[in-house]
Symmetry: C2
Subunit: 109 residues, 2 copies
C-alpha cells in the first residue's frame, strides 16, 4: 500500500489518473500530449510516472502491437478511505459532500 500513497503524491501522476478516468485505454503518446496542457514534460518523464502508477497497481496495462494501453484501477484508491473512515462515519461524510455539491450547484445559477 505504500507504493499507492507514494504514487498519488505527485500532481502530474494525479492528472494522469484523472485523464485515464475520463477516457480509458490511452497510450503513452496520447497521455503525454494531454500533459502538455497541464505540466509539459518529456515523453520519458511521462513514461516514468506511468511505470510508478503501474507498479502501485493504480493503472493496468495492455500491449497491443507496438502500443501500450493504460487503464485506471480504482480499487487501491477505494481502500484508502476504508483505513481511516469508519462505516458509520462514511455515511455522514457522504451526506455532507452531497449537500456541499448541491449548494455549490445553486450558486452557479
Amino acid at each position: 500500500m505504500d507504493m499507492v500513497f507514494k504514487a498519488l503524491a505527485d500532481p502530474g501522476r494525479r492528472i494522469l489518473l484523472d485523464r485515464l478516468r475520463s477516457q480509458s485505454g490511452q497510450t503513452l503518446g496520447q497521455l503525454r500530449q494531454h500533459m502538455n496542457q497541464h505540466a509539459p514534460m518529456s515523453r520519458q518523464a511521462v513514461a516514468k510516472h506511468l511505470a510508478i502508477l503501474e507498479r502501485a497497481n493504480l493503472v493496468a496495462t495492455l500491449r497491443r502491437g507496438r502500443e501500450k494501453l493504460h487503464y485506471l484501477n480504482p480499487v487501491p484508491i477505494h481502500q484508502i478511505g476504508q483505513r481511516w473512515i469508519g462505516k458509520f462515519e462514511r455515511g455522514r461524510l457522504d451526506a455532507l459532500a452531497e449537500l456541499k455539491q448541491t449548494l455549490e450547484g445553486e450558486n452557479h445559477g
Copy 2:
C-alpha cells in the same frame, strides 16, 4: 489538496493518523512514545510530521496549557475517493470490500 497527498505519502505520518483514529486528543509526547514501537525517531521528527499533517488539514489541534492535543480530521481523506470513483462505482467497490472482509473472517476460524 496537494498537501494532503504529500502528507499521506510518508508511512510514519500514516501511522500517526492510525493512532489518532484509535484514540483522539493525544499530545506530541504520547504520539512519539507510540512511534517507538513502529519507527523510532526523535521528538522533533514527530513534531515535524504532525506539523505537516496539520498544514494539510488532516489533523486539528487544540492547546491545553503547555500541551497540544491532536485530532484526526477525516474530511480530506474522504474527498480522495470522490475524485476517481464515481457514485455508481462506489457501491460496487463497497460490496466487494465487504465480501472480502467476510471471507477473511471465515478463514480465521
